[in-house]
Amino acid sequence: MSGPLKSSSLSAEAQALDTVAIAKDLIGTAIITGLILTPIVAIRTSLDQGALTWHSRFGLAFALTAVVVVVRLLLHVFVWNKRAASAIAPAKPAALTVHRASIADMIGPYVPRALLIFALLLPVLAYASPWGEKRTIDLAIYILTYIMLGWGLNVVVGLAGLLDLGYVAFYAVGAYAYALLSTIYFPYWFGPGIVPWAFYITLPMAGLLAATWGVILGFPVLRLRGDYLAIVTLAFGEMIRLVLINWFSFTNGPQGINVPKATFFGLPFKDEPGGFAAFFNIPYNRIHFYIFLYYLILTLALITYFVTKRLRRLPIGRAWEALREDEIACRSLGINTTTTKLTAFAIGAMFGGFAGSFFAARQGFVSPESFVYIESALILAIVVLGGLGSQIGIVFSAIAIMGSFEVFREMDFMKAILPTGTEPIQFRMLAVGLAMVLMMRFRPRGFVTKREPTVFLKEKKSVSGDLVAEGHG
């Protein structure tokens, strides 16, 4: 693991493969990897009928160690060696200055438009999908939900530079707002006739509630920066989840709440008179519900996109970005950093609340276990991989991450080489974690590294990511 570090300081005569050094390094790698794998992988414990047993899997551990060593050897021979050769010219620290145009940077301004057209046509294209129409649309809904969450969190993390690790709390507030209002409070206040309409009435309320919570939770953390801010927001997220679990009389605890699914402006998607199909005189098909949900989340996501895009060009959006760049300078220019931060929290939370409501109306069920910390980390990963502050980058990273989950599900061939009892799908979060580590190391600016200016005099020039600050946390 020290290869790339050492290689940058290699002198010219060391260009040729230094076999002794490499051998030493490989032996070291083998020992370290072996130590890491031996207890946890080579000894498999399991709980069978209440009795703990264990069996050894030294073969597996050995094979994995061999893989690591071989990969490292290949890196030595083909990658680090080359870099060492080119390092004769004064090398700059790779992570900071090397520019690599990303896919999105190269395709240019047509990307958003092309994506929009694709998104609008997707239900039609889904007919031809090899995975089947329903599954494709369902996946698209799933991805769009995360794109929307990513865009929401982007306001807080990407624009205002405030690292929020408890974003899922607002998702939960939105979901529970819909669940509780539509099942208990609306029927109680307005009679049961309201229920089919509940989603449309609750949606703005859920957004407002989440925004309120954004301000409530944002207020105490105003003075915090960096790691402390991250960990306090994480604590807030967990607190809300624990309250949802334990406040049984209000939230029905871990069992969760069954909620009515979304309707087409009052028409339920059911095979019955008064349902959507009957009203429009078409044969009932469950796909209608999926297509409807798809366009619903697409609308919500597009609202998020355009509102954020507009906000960036308004003084408030510019103040967010300025805050990310330098908070003290902001204060010296007469900007009230308190309200600026709180609006960022509120707006970000509001979009999270919308998405939460949608999530509840889609699932027909909410429970605290949907709102664990790992969800926040996942949304953060999407924002980070997309390139902090870049909305289009988030689309790519959400598709990459959520799509890869689906690919993991499909990888039946992997079962052949995996130990029995493990499914490829189990590896999905491991892959996300690895991706976060690797991205920070090799492409810390994410997919889209350029920042678009919000106003220009003559010519719009993208700002290189190296100059853009990422806030103090």
């Binding site: 031996t38 000894i43 306090v232 967990e238 590896f427 979060m429 690895l434 976060m436």
Partner: protein, 311 residues
Amino acid sequence: MEYFLQQLINGLTLGSIYGLIAIGYTMVYGIIGMINFAHGDVFMVGSVVSFIVILMLGITGGSGSFMIILALALVVVIAMLIAAVYNWTIERVAYRPLRGSFRLAPLISAIGMSIVLQEFVRIAQEGRPKPIQAIITGNYEILHRNAAEGVFVVTISNMQIMIIVSTIALMAIFTAIIQRTSLGRAQRACEQDQKMASLLGINVDRTISITFILGAALAAFAGMMFFLYYNVTDFFIGFLAGIKAFTAAVLGGIGSIPGAMLGGMIIGLIEVMWSAYFSVEYKDVAAFTILVIVLIFMPQGLLGKPEVEKV
């Protein structure tokens, strides 16, 4: 009164464990100014490794006490070694290459690393919690009172004695290392000014690595004690324990080693007292609340130094 005493003993036991983990946070924060988000998971690795070794050795509560002591000595050495290797690797792979990158980079990398560790252990060792029969059993009644309302007893178990005594011993050794050896001096120098330290011939990289190794060893020890105390472990214990230990580190004043221990004791006591007198369900909420209050109102902690904003 007896009830309170009993809770005090329980709280100090738990606090010792938190304190040991907190030292890892505080040292790393002191030297490279970042939260090692994966530290809680290194504690978990220590705990799971001790579980595996204990299971392999086949010791149970029924084994002779000499056998148990011998076996546990072996377990603790292995757990510390493995956890140290983990933390060393984490620093090399996930943090060191990011020095000099932007401020959020190591934090995000650490969050990723924490996910990787949890998932790695979950996949390799099943997700379900692993319970065992208590190995160290037996306790002493230190107070016994017959009253009209019933019998009141305060007990301290062998396990609790072991945790508290070994924590004190470990702390003594550790403090000696930091204060007396050249390694400790190098470490304190790096905390003050890394560039200057390296100009004076201190190997900063090595000092940081050793800091991670020492932190991991303490966390692994805490992991083993945690496992023996509760007789159960799984891949997820690192998350909550990590956050609580981090709270302890901040409460004590981040960067201060006695502070971390003190903070650990306070957090352990608060958690136990809260469960005993208010509600068990909300004990974690209480811990998070303390975290929030401490970070917001006294970020310099009890034994830390206040920071002045530089303009």
